[in-house]
Symmetry: C2
Subunit: 759 residues, 2 copies
């Protein structure tokens, strides 16, 4: 077991109980979850921007330590494994994003008078943080523990969907204080972050409620809380900036901290449970009462574990202990979000700043440019009920806002990244027959979202020029390619609904990528609105998020983004041989210009596994008759670019996408076109994977003789019959059955190479 999982005494005893109860039972899948994976870059390496704190599947609350007073880009999840300081435990976090936000309602236990401690004590209660070491830290799904060295406090955290639960074991002979900080946030004024209003109200000698209204990466969020303690609040010190209000019932302001004093001399830990809501303190209390009615911390820990176990059991894999740790942590990371922000009674604050009601939950945190690729297809497969919830939540944004989400955070649109990749998600879910989605309404949303101009999506220009001119909209090459894909998705739903004219129109649009193909350079290249190629042109030249034709990448990386028509791309390239040769160059061309976008990482040649535009590219060899090269590169990425360290991802985990790539690839296939219902076969890392579908059926992937060397498919059988296709379909999986792949150390260059075998 990885050192980060070293357990505290309390945890060991709990695990022992569980172990003794299940002496003969197989190891629980949650025991393979290592929340520290991806939490910090091992020197010179990369991080996933993950956090190690406690959360339940798709829950609103992510209760996790923040190792910075004001997290920035480089610790967007609040935690950096390289830090040795904890500012406190806040209740909301983003998993693996490139930008920071949330960090709501920070709690921190401490001892002594903060003024007498070392450090800058200008403001009372502002220096309650503590040093810690990983030797005294542990985490598992739904549970986090750390010893706060400066205070000699053992802090434990667990969570339910809408509430956090803290257990602080103070030393007996010291004061026992808990600070609640309502001004803790990403570094201000980045993203215009500021607290507009905040409030504390001490409800009684065991409870405090309040809220903050804050701007940031999410334009405006209201976060209400209701917190209860198992012990009497002996006294309090409410602080606004530098002004203290002792033993007062309430405080309104913007820079608020509440310092609560408890008696720990009886050795009984201080327990705190906190409900959250986007609507009101009343709803926060409702959430808390519904989810944590009692003071049984261990029971909530066990409950969280059971919830995770239940989700993780949807895929059972056989592989090495290390592989299973990578796999189940990846699966855990994919199931952290999207998050249900609706209260237990269905209320939530919507994008129009009014309270809406969603009886089946309102999900947000849609990092769609990332997650439409593999995370959402994974949800469609093993989380069909929630997939309907995701889609219906997106549709509710459409109703209130006019188009589907681009990047939706806490119900707010932040327009991060390009394209309208809710479209493939909606279309995929509908075409796969996910129940609970109104197909006609779904079509209305994808069509409107493809025709209503909005920031980053000037469709009138798209219709006028048949490509995106760089002088009309920057990131134009990436946008042209990705818009064309979204259009293909719209067309598929139009077809399904027999809307022939729409189908033809959107199919035409889906081919607009051709208008940026520069035969001279052999790349997709920017044009202006006069049709003039952008010059000079260097296919290695990187773009960022604006001011350049390529989004977080270069012309090499974007060359491959025609998932809706790989055959067409092969044609443009000059046929199979030229296509595979270009792929070979791509994976081996190491030359990089001085400036590489920070999001590009995890390189194999020009391939950058650390960012999403590359994610499908290894699988493209299958389309041109060289599946063994797909197998080679997929196996290489799984073994070299994923591991169990805090550097376990080759770049931002991006709300489940980096993980979903692994989950699919480790089982042996990947949704190159995420809305096609086709999965392209790679090289399974697992000896066996069993997908348990909600229908009760199972689909099993066997990889016989799979080992570190045996990465190549020698032969295959589907449900006992020889199988030469290098892909499987959605119905192959949903019908249940077994795909058996026989693996060996050398490529079988005759398997899956015929044109009829290709995806």
């Amino acid at each position: 077991m990885y050192k980060f999982l070293r357990c505290s005494l309390a945890v060991i005893s709990l695990l022992s109980v569980a172990a003794s109860l299940n002496a003969q039972a197989p190891k629980k899948l949650t025991q393979y979850v290592n929340p520290f994976i991806g939490t910090g870059a091992v020197k010179g390496s990369l991080s996933g921007n993950n956090y190690p704190g406690a959360t339940v599947p798709f829950g609103m609350v992510q209760l996790s330590p923040d190792t910075r007073d004001e997290p920035e880009w480089d610790a967007a999840s609040g935690y950096d494994h390289n830090d040795n300081f904890i500012a406190g435990f806040s209740h909301t976090h983003l998993s693996g994003t490139g930008a920071p936000d949330l960090f709501d309602i920070l709690f921190m236990p401490y001892t002594g008078d903060e003024k007498t401690r070392a450090g800058d004590a200008k403001q009372p209660g502002s220096r309650y943080g503590s040093r810690f070491s990983h030797a005294n830290e542990s985490a598992r799904a739904g549970y986090y523990q750390v010893r706060l060295d400066d205070h000699d406090i053992n802090a434990e955290l667990t969570a339910t969907a809408h509430a956090g639960f803290h257990r602080y074991t103070f030393p007996r002979n010291s004061s026992a204080k808990v600070v609640i900080d309502l001004n803790h946030s990403l570094k201000k004024p980045n993203f215009g972050c500021q607290v507009i209003a905040a409030r504390f109200n001490i409800v009684n000698d065991h409870a405090i409620e309040g809220f903050r209204v804050i701007t940031g990466w999410a334009k405006l969020r209201k976060v209400y809380f209701y917190a209860e303690f198992n012990k009497t609040i002996k006294s309090n010190d409410l602080v606004d900036g530098g002004t203290q209000y002792f033993n007062q019932q309430l405080l309104n302001g913007t820079d608020l901290r509440a310092i609560l004093d408890f008696d720990a001399s009886d050795g009984i830990p201080v327990l705190a449970k906190i409900g959250l809501s986007t609507v009101s303190c009343e709803n926060a209390k409702l959430n808390l009462d519904a989810e944590i009615p009692a003071w049984d911390f261990d029971r909530v820990v066990a409950q969280a574990d059971a919830l995770w176990e239940n989700e993780l059991e949807k895929i059972n894999v056989e592989g090495s202990e290390k592989q299973k740790q990578i796999f189940y942590t990846a699966l855990y990371h994919t199931f952290i979000q999207p998050n249900n922000y609706a209260d237990v009674n269905g209320d939530y604050t919507a994008i129009d700043y009014t309270v809406h009601h969603a009886k089946d939950g309102f999900y947000s945190t849609f990092s769609l440019w990332d997650t439409y690729r593999a995370a959402h297809p994974l949800y469609t497969l093993v989380q069909p009920e929630r997939s309907a919830g995701f889609v219906n939540s997106m549709i509710s944004q459409y109703d209130a806002y006019g188009y589907l989400p681009i990047w939706q955070l806490w119900g707010q649109e932040n327009y991060c990244m390009i394209g309208n990749h809710a479209i493939p998600v909606v279309v995929d879910a509908v075409l796969k027959g996910i129940p609970g989605i109104d197909i006609n309404k779904a079509y209305e949303t994808v069509k409107s979202s493809s025709t209503t101009d909005h920031p980053g999506s000037p469709f009138k220009a798209w219709e006028k020029y048949h490509y995106m001119p760089e002088n009309v909209q920057s990131q134009s090459v990436s946008l042209t390619l990705e818009m064309a894909y979204d259009d293909w998705c719209v067309a598929q739903l139009a077809k399904k609904l027999n809307k022939t004219a729409d189908y033809e129109h959107f199919m035409q649009r889906s081919q607009y990528f051709r208008n940026l193909y520069d035969t001279q350079s052999g790349f997709f290249r920017a044009k202006d609105s006069d049709g003039k190629w952008a010059s000079p042109f260097n296919p290695l030249q990187y773009g960022g998020n604006g001011g350049n034709p390529y989004t977080e990448g270069n012309a090499w990386q974007y060359y491959w983004y025609i998932p809706q028509d790989v055959k067409g791309l092969i044609g443009l390239t000059g046929g199979d041989t030229k296509f595979t040769a270009k792929l070979d160059t791509f994976f081996t061309l190491n030359s990089k210009p001085g400036e590489v976008n920070g999001n590009a990482s995890g390189f194999i040649g020009q391939y950058a596994h650390g960012n999403e535009p590359s994610h499908h590219i290894t699988y493209l060899y299958n389309y041109a008759g060289q599946p063994w090269k797909t197998q080679y590169y997929v196996a290489k990425i799984m073994s070299e670019l994923y591991n169990t360290s805090s550097s376990g991802y080759a770049g931002n985990e991006d709300c489940g996408q980096m993980s979903a790539w692994y989950v699919f690839s480790a089982m042996g296939f990947y949704p190159v076109n995420p809305a096609s219902g086709v999965y392209v076969i790679g090289s399974p890392a697992m000896q066996k994977s069993v997908i348990s579908l909600s229908s009760g059926k199972r689909f099993t992937i066997l990889a016989s003789h799979r080992s570190a060397e045996n990465i190549y498919i020698q032969s295959a059988k589907l449900n006992g019959k020889p199988y030469t296709h290098t892909y499987i379909t959605q119905s192959d999986i949903t019908n249940g059955g077994t795909l058996e792949l026989v693996m060996g150390p050398k490529p079988n260059k005759s398997w899956g190479v015929n044109a009829s075998d290709r995806p």
Copy 2:
């Protein structure tokens, strides 16, 4: 009639109709309302910061022209009579405040292509403003009209409580456009003003809805609207900053304008009606449908006029035409606010950013440091039902926020000015027996608001030092004096409820002013927490709003602020003679230091009628046996510091306080201690004033022989019996009856001078 009331053709014809229908009827009181009074400083003079636009009594909507693109301090109401440019007509304004805010949902009609016009046309639709002249402008209660010279458009405005109604008469042979600007505001980034989110949604070819969320002097406001037109929107151009979206249904952004195109060739005016809500577009539509169901502009004008007439008839006065114009415009200004922000269904967004429900309305815009002095006592007298609404709205802030309002704007606390002067308002209303207020709850709110520390009100220090030390809280002298008064009010309610201990405690606190009395200088003077006098000391030295012991004034002006114990102040001063001598000096000492606070204006010696701390001082002579001096100065102020010009007030009108001073004083009395039920007699400007009470009773004040010279009371009778008291009480008024004052050109120095006659 003052030149500002010069009528357009349309108005004249409407007035003619009214006149012909009521040929023998007395002139309607609304015809004395001149909304241009106080709207702009005549050169070298002063302004009230009033606006001339259309509103109904206590309504949410104030539809008025803004003569600046981004109003600042000097045009806080949006309009300056010295300007000759109109940026547009926005739906919400503040009447007479010293700081700017609101200006929501600006509409502006224009013709032609804005790009071809002169001026900065960098952003489409951003230069739709027009020049205008007062010759082509008119206004009366509930109606405003102006000719937009640059476009040859006649624009007319009227309003209901929650909606605005526009009538734009375009020239026949031009394009006819209406721009809606959601980014129009006070000058950004003053008060941190920024639009956080905004939205347009074209509902159908006759309707558009949307909202904006904006920060400013009010921390955060959500303003939703629903607008309908009588004509088809032929085409539209939605604009976000510099980006245009032609003929699109919707737009989300922050710098939004909608340019709507109409056909005016039929000569029929374009009508637009707009409902507002703090809750949702649905509620905005609900408000609009309830209040303006038809396209009958003139009917809504007549309705607004009738509403005003109904309110103005609560006081009938006889005086010169000019006096009546001043009087009824003042009464009109007092009835503009507080404003009912609850929707017609009772919903409103409360101070905790949740939606609350108030069946009897939720009133806000409480400029309490100003209005508790005379405006609220006036409401208590002639608006008892609404007074209950005001008090219950304040109590609802207490419930959600922990203390009563200080300065409440659109339901948001902005902590402007000092003290907690909701307390006298609540106490006054309760003690006067206003029905519909829970007395025990009221006591809870005033006591809590006097003991819970909050910004500007450190009560723990108050209790510890028995004065406010300047090093603990700036503006300490003003705060000590005003807090002591608020405490006296709390004590009165405690007494009423037989809470003896509380009564004694708060009565003690009400005497803390004595602890800042410096016998050496003979002034109230700042001390620090060690009890050391602040030095050097100059009683002429001005303070502003922080960093100095005096609030917008000096030691001379604050000397007189012991309304709860004028007798005590006379004692401190050394008796009647020294007191009246000090008053004489006060009214004649012209020396001013170089730096005078901008709010101090309308000087008579050190007396500054342009700001509230002076407002009661003329009446203090009555307390020391020289009522004729009160009579002299009151008459002088009424004749010299009020007029019918745009400079009609001697300083900011301050949400009705400058007006309420006139209304009371012109009738002949003033509430020196606004929560005492005692009105001190001055010198009536009106020959006759009749107050019609909600009980059906009437109280009449006759000022026989009153003329410009006859300003002195010779004798008095109350209900036919000789009357020598220089005050009357609440019950004298509410019992009904007549106070007859016989006026003459010379003081009668024997009337009302005995100790037993004094207030």
